[in-house]
Symmetry: C2
Subunit: 415 residues, 2 copies
């Protein structure tokens, strides 16, 4: 069974916002066995929306629509859905109560008329209650096809997908089993990797699909299986990975899980009761920010010194200025001294340090743009590696961050 | 003249990656007067791609395609384009040279055959040289319609859009003038704001469109104008903003520029020769990371202490532990002490500090989830504000970061 996602809003088509909703919805649908045929972003324009509904209905059985449910005149999704279903809008009491409850928290306690009108829904729609905002989700059916309309505000949409849409779909339909496994490799280009594993790839069964995903110096290999026979897919993906791994053991890094690498590290640290701190120069706090984006990080993340200016390495991290002048601020010696300083300052079990030149111009060092030293310190040792990450600032920062997590994970798993 | 963007790749449809390419392309097209009619994400499937080409050609004059240009078998865009144009693939010498140049930097100097085959392009295509990777861009024309195929790797695609696609489109066509102005408001809900400015909105000329964009506690009002008469649009948008501002002066925050608020702050700091540092608790380094994502940040950003653990506030920032136990770690007093400590530690002109509870569970303080104190310190004073940012971790972190930048900008502009 196929789904199509339609996102409505001029802000997407003028590039004012990136559509992050579709990826979230697609991932959640995949988990229950629904494949997404197409994602379509259309304007806040009645004829365009109607056309996209018609086309989606031809391609898919489940059509999920986000956006255009706000209280103001530029939001026309609800009226357009009513027109498509040849329906009229009626006031829903439960939604009215929800709107009044929300306004109860405001300074002005009485909802405005445009806000109250968010309780108007097509009479044929089942309302999906939005616990994080005033626009309700709506579920409509038409000749076996399901149309689901959700607000475009990400956390409102997410709440409705998880709490209402996914459970209701899973209850109403029987879906096949879908499994994706992504294998991370590092150090071999996409084409060289493809040549090496060609014989294996050519003999994959038809229900297992292979994809290559190059990014940030790594190539990810994704195996996707889909069948009503869950057992078959699980066995076959496991078997194919067992055949593959010996062929790529020199470049194999690990498996990509739904969780980010920093989340996996966090779980290891919680399990072992260990802590981590960072001293960041070229990554500018991105490693700290990635750790602390995860709920529960306070159990293992102690803190960070972002010693961006060279002087702050001396003032805050107490790095010996002679070490800096002898080896340069972008050097293995300084990276290792920073890691040791962070370990001591925050009294942590592990510390990560980065120093490098993210470009576009050279900073306080002669190092080529893209040169980064990453150091890991533990209570027993300190070590570092030198990398060259290219000449795009964001790429350098992101690759250094990813690599730092990989180095720490490897060190933790050694134990 | 309308454009359509087609992104090709299963990784988008299974939610493995967020499509950030489309927003970038849409924004760049808008700048030269090209409106995007639709964005469509399709699978790595020949029939599906052909269908999307046909539909796009009916809607738009310019079709920009990204993705599916890798060297491996799952990437089928190039062969599918050749089929759509009833064309064959021929080897392009300039692309071959580029591939050899890239492999020259590798350990293995001889390009693999699959890599060399990236120089195969449809014979009718004009090649757009990719200076950041081996897959070339391609420009094909058909009955006045332009098809442009670009690699999906973001920085390769961006280079081609900026260096080849936009200049070539601007030279070949005459486009209308498009202007967007976005007005930031804070403190009034979308529906209340809409009621207040209804009379003004109802009298906007037909070539000026209004949109409401609520997010993170703010409502953005976007005015969009489009016409061959550039002067008319510029005058009219200016006039309408002059009519609007007196009606919203209590909630008006500023204008949203293409640049982020942290970039604008950076320019102010460079102009005045001033510097900034941060001491971050609940934002976990996000403010530092946002500053340092901008090229040239080393001119004004000194560094940060991410004092995530309470003890690190004492050990690194030297906050008096009695102050923490008296007022709690989430308090105006601690936020202000942190800001003063960062100012001193990094010897900066301004400092931002954050302390709060991002949830989902309460930390070392009794403060309600979502409570955040933000402090700004200068050489002459320190002040703070208390906020309640709701109960979603990422929302709290993002809103606190945005608000911190707003407070600093306001303080800088006072001078």
């Amino acid at each position: 069974m196929l789904a199509e996602i339609i996102t409505i809003g001029d802000e997407i088509l003028i590039g004012q916002i990136v559509d992050t909703n579709s990826a979230f919805i697609a991932k959640q649908l995949n988990k229950i066995g629904v494949s997404v045929y197409q994602i379509t972003s259309v304007q806040d324009d009645k004829e365009h929306i109607l056309k996209s509904f018609k086309e989606a209905e031809e391609n898919a059985n489940i059509i999920i629509i986000t956006g255009g449910l706000g209280p103001t005149k530029d939001d026309i999704t609800k009226r357009t859905i009513a027109e498509y279903f040849n329906d009229t809008l009626v006031r829903n009491d439960e939604v009215t109560e929800n709107i009044k409850r929300i306004w109860g928290d405001f300074t002005v306690k009485t909802p405005s008329q445009v806000s109250l009108d968010q309780a108007l829904v097509p009479s044929k729609a089942q309302v999906l209650m939005n616990h994080h905002g005033s626009a309700p989700g709506m579920w409509l059916e038409k000749e076996g096809k399901v149309f689901i309309s959700l607000p475009g505000v990400p956390y409102e949409m997410r709440g409705l997908i998880d709490d209402a849409v996914i459970p209701k779909l899973a209850k109403q339909f029987k879906f096949p089993y879908i499994q994706h496994e992504t294998i991370l490799t590092y150090g071999l280009g996409e084409s060289a990797l493809a040549e090496r594993i060609e014989a294996w790839a050519d003999h994959l069964p038809p229900y297992i699909k292979l994809a290559y995903l190059p990014s940030l110096g790594r190539v990810r290999l994704r195996l996707s299986g889909k069948s009503m026979d869950k057992h078959l897919i699980q066995i076959e993906i496991k078997h194919q990975i067992e055949l593959l791994l010996p062929q790529i053991k020199d470049v194999f890094v690990g498996f990509e899980r739904d969780e980010s690498i920093e989340a996996v590290i966090g779980q290891h640290l919680i399990a072992s009761g260990k802590t981590v701190a960072t001293a960041e120069s070229c990554t500018g706090g991105k490693i700290a920010e990635s750790f602390t984006a995860i709920a529960g990080a306070s159990q293992y993340f102690k803190g960070s010194v972002v010693s961006y200016a060279t002087q702050s390495k001396v003032d805050v991290l107490k790095i010996d200025p002679e070490l800096i002048s002898k080896f340069s601020v972008v050097s293995a010696e300084v990276a290792e001294a920073m890691a040791k300083a962070a370990l001591k300052l925050f009294n942590s079990d592990y510390a990560i340090a980065t120093t490098g030149n993210a470009g576009p111009t050279k900073g306080d060092a002669d190092a080529e743009i893209g040169t980064v030293f990453i150091a890991i310190a533990t209570k027993y040792k300190v070590f570092s590696e030198r990398f060259t990450f290219g000449d795009h600032r964001h790429k350098v920062i992101n690759r250094a961050t990813t690599k730092a997590f990989e180095m720490l994970q490897k060190e933790i798993l050694k134990k």
